[in-house]
C-alpha cells in the first residue's frame, strides 16, 4: 500500500467511527467555514437540502459513506464532524459585527464559525496549558440606556474596567496583551474574510476578539480592540449591528484609550499654530490616531464644529484618512495561542499531534495560532464572494 492508500483507508475507517459520534453542529460549522448554503452542500454530496438540514439538526444520522462524502466535499477530515466537548456556537452570545449590510449572512456565518474554531482550538490546548482567567466585568448598557454627552454609561463602563484592571492614569499599554492577560482570546481573521471588520463575541468559555487582517495601522487597530472590549463588557445581550450599539462601543473605546480627565487639557482648542504638531505628539503618546484625537476633541467640546470639520478636510486632502503618518508601523500582536504553541513545542508536542487533537485543517490552525495576519491576497473575483476557509 502506498502512503496515499493508507490515508484513504484511514479516512474510510474514521468515517465509520465518526458516523457513530456524528455531531450535526460540527457539520453546520464546517459548512459555514466553507461559505456554503445548505442547498450548495446538498448539490456537492448529491442529496437534498432537507437531508442536510436533518443531519445538521440531529434529526437524522448520516451513513459512514455519506460522512466520507461530506468530508471530501467540505475538504475536512471526517474527524471534524465528531462530537466535541462543548458546542461553542450554542454557548456563545451574539457576535458583534460592525456593519450588517456590508456583509451577507453567509460571510457573517463564516466569520463567526472561524471565531468558534479559534475558541475550540484554545480550549483543546487548554488541557495542557493554563491561560489567564477571563476577567471582564459585565456592565450592561442597553441601546436606550446611554445618555448623550461626554459622560454616559459607556464612558463610566470604560473607567470601571480601567479601575478593575488596575490601570494607571494616562495612555493604555499594549491593548492586545492587556486583553489577553484578562483572559480574552485575540486572533487575526483569515484574509478570505477581510470584508468583515474586527468583531467579538463572548463564548462563555472565553471572550473572543477577532481582528481584521487588512488593517495595517497600529493606532486604528488599538481603537478597534478597545471598541470590541466595549462590546464584550456592555453588550452581551444586545442586538448586534445597530448604530446606537456601535456608537456606544466607540464612546467606550475613546474613554478607555483617552480618559477625559487625563487628556482634555492637552486637546487642541483651535487648529491654528502648532495644532498639527501637537496632535502628532498626542498621537504617539496615547497610541491613537489623529482622527480619533480630533473626534475626541470635538466630543469633549474643546474644538468647535467648524474647526473640527476644517481639520477633517485637511486630513482628507493630505491623504491621511486612509494612511495617517505615525512612528509605529507594526501592529500589536496576539500571543496567547502562539505562546502556548511554543511552550508545548519545547515539551516535544508537535503541531501534528495538536492538529489531530483539535481536528481542524492545518491552514486554519496556523492562522488562529499566528502572531501576525496572513498575507492579504486580492479579494475573490468570482460572484460567490464567500471563499471557503478550507482552501
Amino acid at each position: 500500500m502506498t502512503p496515499a492508500d493508507l490515508r484513504g483507508a484511514g479516512r474510510a475507517d474514521r468515517a465509520a467511527d465518526v458516523a457513530a459520534f456524528f455531531d450535526g453542529a460540527r457539520l453546520t460549522l464546517a459548512r459555514h467555514l466553507a461559505g456554503l448554503r445548505k442547498s450548495d452542500l446538498a448539490v456537492l454530496v448529491g442529496m437534498t437540502p432537507t437531508a442536510v438540514a436533518a443531519w445538521e439538526s440531529g434529526a437524522k444520522r448520516p451513513t459512514p459513506a455519506t460522512v466520507a462524502r461530506l468530508a471530501l466535499s467540505l475538504r475536512v477530515e471526517p474527524g471534524f464532524f465528531a462530537m466535541r466537548p462543548s458546542d461553542i456556537a450554542a454557548l456563545s452570545g451574539p457576535p458583534h459585527f460592525r456593519s450588517l449590510r456590508a456583509t451577507t449572512q453567509l460571510a457573517r456565518d463564516q466569520a463567526f464559525g472561524y471565531g468558534q474554531l479559534a475558541v475550540d482550538i484554545a480550549a483543546s490546548m487548554e488541557k495542557h496549558v493554563e491561560y489567564p482567567e477571563p476577567d471582564l466585568p459585565p456592565l450592561p448598557v442597553t441601546p436606550d440606556g446611554a445618555a448623550d454627552g461626554w459622560d454616559g454609561l459607556p464612558e463610566q463602563a470604560a473607567r470601571q474596567v480601567r479601575q478593575r484592571w488596575g490601570m494607571a492614569q494616562g495612555p493604555a499599554p499594549h491593548l492586545v496583551r492587556l486583553l489577553e492577560n484578562h483572559g480574552v482570546l485575540v486572533v487575526f481573521s483569515p484574509p478570505q474574510t477581510a470584508s468583515v471588520d474586527a468583531y467579538s463575541f463572548d463564548s462563555r468559555v472565553r471572550p473572543v476578539v477577532v481582528l481584521n487582517p487588512v488593517k495595517h495601522d497600529y493606532y486604528r487597530q488599538r481603537f478597534d480592540v478597545a471598541h470590541e472590549l466595549g462590546h464584550l463588557v456592555m453588550h452581551a445581550d444586545a442586538e448586534p449591528g445597530g448604530r446606537v450599539i456601535e456608537d456606544q462601543a466607540n464612546r467606550f473605546a475613546a474613554e478607555f484609550l483617552m480618559p477625559r480627565a487625563d487628556i482634555r487639557e492637552h486637546l487642541p482648542t483651535a487648529m491654528s499654530g502648532g495644532a498639527w504638531q501637537g496632535l502628532a505628539r498626542l498621537k504617539e503618546h496615547w497610541g491613537t490616531s489623529i482622527q480619533a484625537l480630533l473626534y475626541r476633541a470635538r466630543r469633549l467640546g474643546t474644538l468647535s464644529e467648524v474647526s473640527y470639520r476644517n481639520a477633517m478636510n485637511t486630513l482628507t486632502s493630505r491623504g491621511w484618512r486612509r494612511s495617517e503618518p505615525g512612528l509605529i508601523t507594526v501592529l500589536e500582536q496576539p500571543s496567547m495561542l502562539p505562546r502556548a504553541l511554543e511552550l508545548l513545542a519545547a515539551e516535544g508536542v508537535t503541531e501534528d499531534s495538536l492538529l489531530d487533537q483539535c481536528r481542524v485543517p492545518a491552514g486554519i490552525f496556523r492562522t488562529v495560532t499566528s502572531r501576525t495576519p496572513s498575507p492579504a491576497g486580492p479579494p475573490a473575483r468570482d460572484h460567490s464572494a464567500v471563499v471557503s476557509l478550507f482552501g
Binding site: 474527524g79 465528531a82 456593519s99 449590510r101 456590508a102 456583509t103 451577507t104 483543546s124 487548554e126 488541557k127 495542557h128 496549558v129 493554563e130 491561560y131 489567564p132 499599554p173 499594549h174 496583551r177 489577553e180 492577560n181 477581510a194 471588520d197 481584521n212 487588512v214 495595517h216 495601522d217 482628507t316 486632502s317 491623504g319 484618512r321 486612509r322 494612511s323 509605529i328 508601523t329 507594526v330 500582536q333 500571543s335 496567547m336 505562546r339 502556548a340 511552550l343 515539551e347 508536542v349 495538536l354 489531530d356 487533537q357 483539535c358 481536528r359 502572531r371 501576525t372 495576519p373 498575507p375 492579504a376 491576497g377 486580492p378 479579494p379 473575483r381 468570482d382 460572484h383 464572494a385
Partner: protein, 288 residues
C-alpha cells in the same frame, strides 16, 4: 480614428471606464437597498444618495480624497477602502493603482482626471440621457457642453452662436471667450436610474450644448453595454496584465507588506501569562 474611439480606447485600456462602471453599479445597488418610500424617502432623496455614493465609489476605486494614499503604497490600510462595501462590490472592484486618476473638480463640480482627460457627473431622467438639456443645467455643465469638439465633421451651431451679439450678456461673453477650451478637456458621465424597475443608464461622452429635446452629445458611449476588462462582470476578462494602472495591488501586498516584522517596542511587551499544565514527557492523549 475619431475622438470617441481614441478616448474610449485610452480610458478603457487604463481601467478608468471599468472603474466608473463599477462605481456606478455599486452606488445604484446600495441606493436601492437603502431606499424606502415607507420611511419617507422620495426621488430627490434617491437622486442625492445615488450621486453621493457614486462620487464616493469613484474616489474609492481611484484612491482619491479620503481614500488617497501615496502612489507606491496602494495596499495600505485597505480596510478603509473596503469599509461598508458589499462582498459583490469587493469581488468586482477593479484594482487601479493610486495616482493614475486624480480628483480635479471644476468650479465646485466633482471631477476626475486621467492623463489629460477629465470627466464630471450629470444625473438625468431615465430614458432621456441622450437629450439631456444642458442649457437647463448648472453653469459649469453648460461651460463643459460649450467646449469645441475636435471632430472633423461640421459642428452644430451652439445655442449662443445663433444669437445676435447684442443679446449676449457680459457673462455669456465671458463664457464664450474663456471656456471654449477647458484644460484639461472635459467630458461628461451621465447617469440615470428607474427606481421602480431598477434599470440604470450610464453614458460617457462629449456633451453638446442643446435645448430640451435636441441631441445632447457630440458622441457618447454606453458604459453598461461596452465590454470592459477587469470589472469582474459576466462576459469580461480578468484585468489585462501590463495595463497601466491596473496592476494587482493585492499581489504587491504579499511581496512588500510585512506587518509581522518585529518591532522593538512591540517585542518588548511580554507574551500573555500562559503556563504549561503538562509535566515534561507526558504524552498527549486525543481528547476529541
Amino acid at each position: 480614428m475619431g475622438e470617441q474611439q481614441e478616448v474610449i480606447a485610452e480610458l478603457r485600456d487604463a481601467g478608468v471606464l471599468a472603474g466608473v462602471r463599477w462605481a456606478y453599479q455599486s452606488a445604484v445597488r446600495r441606493s436601492l437597498e437603502t431606499y424606502c418610500e415607507a420611511d419617507g424617502h422620495d426621488h430627490a432623496w434617491l437622486g442625492m444618495t445615488r450621486f453621493t455614493l457614486f462620487r464616493d465609489r469613484l474616489d474609492r476605486v481611484f484612491s482619491c480624497e479620503r481614500y488617497a494614499v501615496s502612489i507606491d503604497d496602494g495596499t495600505r490600510d485597505v480596510d478603509v477602502l473596503y469599509a461598508e462595501l458589499s462582498e459583490h462590490d469587493l469581488a468586482t472592484m477593479p484594482r487601479i493603482a493610486p495616482g493614475h486618476v486624480t480628483r480635479t473638480d471644476l468650479y465646485g463640480s466633482a471631477g476626475w482626471t486621467y492623463s489629460d482627460r477629465r470627466f464630471l457627473l450629470a444625473a438625468g431622467e431615465f430614458g432621456r440621457l441622450r437629450t439631456l438639456p444642458w442649457s437647463e443645467r448648472s453653469t459649469t455643465k453648460q461651460i463643459v457642453a460649450m467646449q469645441v469638439s475636435p471632430d472633423p465633421h461640421p459642428r452644430q451651431p451652439s445655442l449662443f452662436e445663433d444669437l445676435p451679439a447684442e443679446e449676449l450678456s457680459p457673462f455669456d461673453e465671458l463664457l464664450r471667450a474663456a471656456q471654449r477650451h477647458l484644460d484639461p478637456v472635459t467630458y461628461m458621465v451621465a447617469h440615470s436610474l428607474d427606481a421602480t424597475t431598477g434599470d440604470a443608464e450610464l453614458l460617457f461622452g462629449r456633451p453638446k450644448l442643446n435645448v430640451r429635446g435636441d441631441p445632447a452629445w457630440h458622441w457618447c458611449a454606453d458604459l453598461l453595454a461596452i465590454p470592459l476588462a477587469g470589472t469582474g462582470e459576466p462576459g469580461t476578462g480578468e484585468p489585462g496584465a501590463g495595463e497601466p494602472g491596473t496592476g494587482d495591488v493585492g499581489a504587491q501586498a504579499e511581496a512588500r507588506d510585512d506587518p509581522g516584522a518585529q518591532d522593538p517596542a512591540a517585542s518588548a511587551v511580554p507574551d500573555a501569562a500562559v503556563r504549561l499544565r503538562v509535566v515534561k514527557g507526558e504524552r498527549l492523549r486525543d481528547s476529541g
